[in-house]
Amino acid sequence: MLSNGEGIKVSIMGEVILTPKEVFKVLIDAETISPDKFAGKTINQIKSLRVYEGGRKRALSDLFNIEGDAGSSPQEVSIVINGDVGKVSRIGELMTAGKIIVNGNAGHYLGFRMKGGSIEVKGNVRMWLGAEMAGGQIEVYGSAQDYVGACLIGKRGKKGMKGGTIIIHGNAGSEIGFSMGGGTIIVDGNAGSLPGVGMMGGTILIKGGCIGKAGARMTGGRIIICGDPGDILPSFYIDEVRPNIKVAGVTYQGPFYTFIGDVLADVKCLGRLMVRNIPSSQQMYINKILS
């Protein structure tokens, strides 16, 4: 778990505070807002970093009030964004270390392909949160939209999230963990449809329910759904009942009905779908098999 923002302020790290100058109307591409890009730069150099506002080239200082100073290496940089940056995409892209704290909403592609460090968002985030990330930690106190920890459309294989942890305290959208190959996604609320589609490794824990079709095309990894799982795909087969499951050091009490699949994607059925509540329509059938 991350420490809260107060704790970071008293640390010895270099801190850069960004405050939006206005309410943004168009999407902004800001892959330059990352500890790796800020490290070793003076405040004036940071101010002149390039961002795109709706395709138009702007300096970072045109959009944000910037104060503080950055450390010499990415580990020492902490970026605090005070305000709503729900239209600002690609914050923390490719970051390897350091911290980003967003006191507000964040936009698309937050932590895209990040390799390390941590990101904390006090509000909601939009789509592609932590897409293709390989390491580090993201914590969102609000909700996230679709494609959390996913890979971009069209790629094959373990091209989604490969490592690290994403924790969402609110709800998540559809297709979280699309093609993920490793790492952990924890959703405290509910998820949309198709969590873990095409998944090949890693863990998705949904403490609430989901709309359904969990684990379609999965060939590895595990999906744990504590609430209502919606409908379970017919290509999943009941394997066993587990009393409890451990995820990231925390034990969740069951019993968990464990399904194997997706048989349509891979006959080896290495994927595991674990649900606490099975749909009433399938209850009788599953109980019959298990007994």
């Binding site: 971009l152 459309i153 069209g154 790629k155 094959r156």
Partner: protein, 567 residues
């Protein structure tokens, strides 16, 4: 607009000019004599110390049509990696590496100094789409070859051995859908594909509904080609493409048309994929030597190499059954289509790897063909874009044929077993700039019968490419890096008398012509065949014949090439 290209080293093989320092004068989109232009008013381009060549002609590059578009839709990941930005008033934007958007296809060709490109496979039924896309490609001139081998009408006439009617049908369809030449893809196999078969069909196997063989189809269409006197020969993708041991089929296909008409009568396209010896993939060997020997000995065959490039590619061909087999090798994405009574197609994205025995040998075989065929007029440079690799890699292919050192740099990194089996490491030949001008400009222009292209003589279209190569200072076999750089970004490209590329950047968007063939003569027979076609059309097609024919005004800039049928 008048332009004077001054003091360049001119390479113009069709006019036997080999690196002489000359001025090229351009007026109203044509090349004129220097005395005809007013030097004080003309825009003068100083080409001293630079190489001046005619605009490049690419005879085989899948740049438009429904299959290319499906490839784009199938491969979003190809479009993340490569893009060109929109510059207001100068150029349009686009994305994609192996399956680029229509806009940037034209810009990238122009940037390399290529100005004429031919889309070599379009099913007649889908050709309206092909022309829509060709119209959207800026700068370059284009043409398209319709697929006619598995067309039910053609197969019917082939089985009846009715060459006259077949000729009349081909004459009608070329004009109806604005095609340029006869394309033959794995003759007959598309028909078998609708029965779920078609893989590994040899030249003498029967094609069921009409019981014709691929040999008969090729021979008949070759004869039709001679009867109609079409500007280009038949454009053949041979049977058993991509199957070890297929070089024998390729040789059989070449031999089957030997003696039909005079001169060149068959163009074997992307020959690299058809030059494999050995029994299976692990025992794959190069069959390029046998093919090169035949081509050197006989005058009726031309080739293009279909060089592969290590890296990503999108295979797309009308040989749907082979694509199905390829899908089972790669287990990735696959698309397949059957085009009513005409053709089929398949698409599989693949990646060529240096360390793979098969891919490394494929890389060697392509270059072996280019280097073992003695006459550069008989072997053209292509990558069969996007099957072997994107056309943007031509500069590298040029460097490999021009420099043994450049080849050895790559040979060091490839699969060791492939290195031992290939003939390429022992080949010393290196192309000169003149030879490169032949294989990329003069020969394809001559072969396709585009008389205004591929040379810089008076009266030719003003398509000129200027490269930053000083042939007196640069030794291509040593400075191959400079050759690559120069061919990647031409110093200047002039298309139709307008400067479209300067210093490697596009400076203007213009739109080129679309060539198609119109056959004169045989009017009586043509109308008789047309009434036959109309009758059958209701039975065989899902569209009305009036929707099938494409009118002149549907094309942006049509340009008909008149030919006179011999009978």
């Amino acid at each position: 607009m008048e332009i004077l290209v001054r003091n360049g080293f001119v390479f113009d093989p069709l006019n036997n000019i080999n690196g002489e320092i000359l001025d090229i004068a351009i007026k109203n989109g044509k090349i004129v004599d220097s005395s005809e232009i007013n030097v004080s008013k003309a825009k003068v381009i100083d080409a001293s110390g630079k190489t001046v060549m005619p605009g490049g002609v690419d005879i085989h590059s899948h740049i438009a049509g429904p299959k290319v578009n499906t490839g784009r839709l199938m491969r979003p990941e190809d479009h993340y990696v490569s893009f060109m930005k929109f510059i207001p008033g100068v150029r349009r934007s686009g994305t994609g590496k192996t399956t680029p958007s229509t806009g940037i296809i034209g810009y990238r060709y122009a940037r390399m100094g290529w100005t004429t490109v031919i889309e070599p496979a379009t099913p007649p039924l889908e050709t309206r789409h092909t022309h829509e896309e060709l119209d959207d490609i800026p700068i370059i001139d284009k043409a398209c070859f319709p697929l006619l081998d598995t067309n039910w009408f053609v197969m019917k006439y082939v089985s009846e051995k009715d060459y006259e009617k077949c000729s009349a049908y081909v004459a009608w369809i070329l004009e109806a859908i604005k095609g340029y030449a006869i394309k033959i893809v794995d003759p007959g196999c598309a028909e078998l594909w609708s029965y779920g078969r078609g893989y590994n069909i040899d030249i003498d196997d029967q094609i069921p509904p009409y019981n014709v063989t691929p040999r008969e189809i090729v021979r008949t269409l070759c004869r039709v080609n001679k009867i109609l006197n079409l500007p280009h020969t038949i454009h053949v993708h041979c049977n058993r493409l991509g199957i070890p041991g297929n070089y024998e089929t390729t040789l059989e296909t070449m031999k089957s048309v030997a003696g039909i008409g005079d001169g060149v009568n068959i163009h074997v396209t992307h020959c690299q994929f058809n030059a494999y010896a050995g029994e299976s993939w692990p025992t794959l060997e190069s069959g390029s030597e046998s093919i090169a020997r035949y081509v050197n000995k006989r005058g009726h065959v031309t080739l293009d190499i279909g060089q592969i490039i290590f890296g990503g590619a999108t295979t797309m061909t009308a040989d749907a059954s082979f694509e199905f087999a390829l899908y089972h090798m790669y287990r990735g994405k696959w698309s397949s289509k059957d085009v009513e009574a005409e053709s089929a197609s398949g698409i599989v994205p693949i990646k060529y790897k240096r360390k793979s025995l098969v891919n490394a040998l494929q890389w060697c075989i392509g270059l072996e063909l280019a280097l073992l065929v003695e006459n550069p007029w008989k072997v053209l440079l292509t990558t069969d874009h996007p099957n072997g690799g994107p056309f943007t890699r031509y500069p590298w292919v040029i460097s490999w044929v021009m420099s043994r050192k450049a080849r050895e740099e790559v040979l060091k990194t490839i699969n060791k077993k492939a290195y031992r089996r290939a003939i390429l490491p022992s080949i010393e030949r290196e192309y000169s700039l003149y030879d490169v001008a032949v294989m990329t400009r003069a020969a394809p222009a001559k072969l396709t019968g585009l008389s205004s292209k591929g040379h810089l003589g008076v009266g030719a279209d003003a398509d000129v490419a200027i490269y930053d190569i000083n042939p007196r200072e640069i030794n291509p076999s040593r400075d191959y890096d400079k050759i690559i750089k120069a061919f990647r970004y031409a110093y200047c490209t002039i298309k139709n008398g307008e400067i479209v590329v300067m210093n490697g950047e596009v400076v203007k968007t213009i739109y080129g012509k679309t060539f198609y063939v119109r056959v004169e003569g045989m009017d009586e027979l043509k109308s008789r065949v047309k009434s036959e076609v109309v009758e059958k059309f209701k039975e065989w097609y899902s569209v009305d014949i009036r929707s099938y024919e494409i009118a002149d005004d549907e094309l942006r800039n049509p340009c008909s090439v008149m030919v006179k049928a011999l009978r």
